[in-house]
Symmetry: C2
Subunit: 145 residues, 2 copies
Amino acid sequence: MEKRNECTRRILEEHNIMHTVQREEILSLFITEPKHYKADEVFKLLRCKGIGIATVYRTLEMFRKCGVIKEISDGKNRFFEMKKHEEKSVYVHFKCSKCGEIHDYDDVNALNEFAAAVESTEKKMDVSIRDMNILINGLCSKCKE
Amino acid sequence: MEKRNECTRRILEEHNIMHTVQREEILSLFITEPKHYKADEVFKLLRCKGIGIATVYRTLEMFRKCGVIKEISDGKNRFFEMKKHEEKSVYVHFKCSKCGEIHDYDDVNALNEFAAAVESTEKKMDVSIRDMNILINGLCSKCKE
DNA sequence: CTACCTGCAAAACGTTTGCAAGACG
DNA sequence: CGTCTTGCAAACGTTTTGCAGGTAG
């Protein structure tokens, strides 16, 4: 089985990214605790290891450009999370208008439904789709009662 | 037929918003040239009429809270556009990864397809959906050649 | 050894706020 | 007339940048 640092090193190599301690730490965070992070959350978690805020921003931007992570946004905040590597990936996030929390949504069947809509959109718009981000607004199960 | 200033006044009244010259100008912009605007674009267009940047931000935020306009975001930039007034509105925007332009997408059939996906999502997630924003990334018809 | 990366601090950017003056009804 | 809104400038939080020193290969 692949060890943690082997995994991060492999990903960096695959994307032709020079290896440094800081990049490994940041990438490791996204892999070991897979969720969406704001830049300053990453900074707060890794500051104790001597990683500066500028490095966090530079690294996130670089990972994003290389397709290692992706960014999502709810208008107020930017988040980053690991990128899927399928064709025409569909990302669904739900934001509760009341409590403000953002939840990921990974139900395979529903994703397929959206993917079908993507197909027909692609034809009608005469475009080439890479990925699709869906942000649903509403009330979460806790808040809707 | 309703005149332009009658239309803006009516919308303001319907939302119980006190009438001012500035609010009418900003709303009028969204109605006469219906597309998505960044806050500073609105400012640049209306600065000549003596409208300050603070008023632009305050008015946009207020219109948003009242449901007159809505906000979309691509992670880097925030845009505002007129809000639909149907139940469970679906907004589809396409962003070209190459030229960076954002296009609206209004095909009714495709929107219905997405709406269907919304329905089933609502049940599976046990949430109450208000609206849904879809940002598609890919290459536009010009850039994909 | 060379090129690239880092942390720091300063700058830049988008957005919000306090305040005195002005507009609305 | 009192209340709400405005423009200005200053403050704010986030993101970017210049630079001197450090690290990877």
